[in-house]
Subunit: 181 residues, 2 copies
């Protein structure tokens, strides 16, 4: 990659991060290019699709979550470990508003730029879940895909302005559907 290209790439990414943080996953790409001081074509060359841009924004965090799941696997309380990982994952998933729907779509579309990171994250969660289930801490009528769906649902609810204040309540309610009492 040419030096100027790399500079533009990095600058675009940082501007995009700010934009998506403020406007959500549907932020105007034209605006991002403009704010970066770069032509629209440049943005599209570096990030051919919106998903590619989101992927660049999220991959690092997702990898963190995968690592984190590994750490938590050595925790004593399997249930609390699962819950803690859930908490952190939901926090990441809703850091950028409206990012959950593309994630949900990407996980079953191998062509999507987001596919790999999502799958990795889901399998990490599935292992934590399986551990808690083997331990009797989590219900058995639930699998990794369900868990991922519930994360999406939680993030969706947090995205609704009228529900943000109840986010913790709702987390607790869904948690009671995952863990045994």
């Amino acid at each position: 990659m040419r030096a100027d290209a790399k500079k533009n790439y990095d600058h675009l990414l940082s501007v995009a991060r700010a934009a998506v943080l403020k406007e959500g996953a549907g932020a105007s790409l034209r605006d991002i290019a403009r704010r970066t001081g770069v032509g629209l074509g440049t943005l599209y060359r570096h990030f051919p699709t919106r998903e590619a841009l989101l992927d660049a924004l999220l991959r690092a965090r997702f990898d963190q979550l995968t690592v984190r799941a590994g750490e938590l696997e050595s925790s004593d309380s399997t249930g609390e470990a699962l819950l803690e990982w859930l908490r952190e994952t939901v926090a990441v998933a809703q850091e950028y508003r409206g990012v959950t729907a593309p994630m949900m779509a990407a996980i079953e579309d191998p062509n999507s730029a987001l596919h790999a990171s999502c799958v990795a994250m889901r399998t990490a969660g599935t292992r934590l879940l399986a551990r808690a289930q083997a331990d009797g801490a989590a219900r058995n009528n639930i699998d990794g895909v369900d868990l991922f769906a519930l994360i999406g649902a939680l993030a969706w609810m947090r995205d609704q302005p009228s529900l943000t204040s109840r986010a913790d309540r709702l987390f607790g309610i869904l948690a009671s559907a995952i863990l045994r009492d």
Copy 2:
């Protein structure tokens, strides 16, 4: 209302119903006007906002649900009554793709065209929930707003193509968060 106006109104509504059924709540208003064979201005006069259109599309169904809740209040099994109402409500809420977010927003905005119908539906659900709670069938750490949020979450999950096949599973999982075991 003038005769031609009423004809246009009705025709618009039926075309809009088909469009929203196929394309979701974000269907192109221009397209709806075009397919109706009517100017864009005509559509906007009859339905000043997209919410007004959705309201016209949904009000009848919502009223049905409110009535249905009343019927179910005389059921013997308070838990099963709540569950059945939930099932039917989720079915309505996801009949039109993407309609849950505007609903969620409308319920706390008295100026929204959807406000009245949503509030009526929520209070109907709240009564069923309270009845099940008094009976010991439903958990106590949950209120009508939570219930409404969970309905939204279920509809959202159903809207995700990768999850539609698991809709019943997921319903069961969330149900276990509402009902006592």
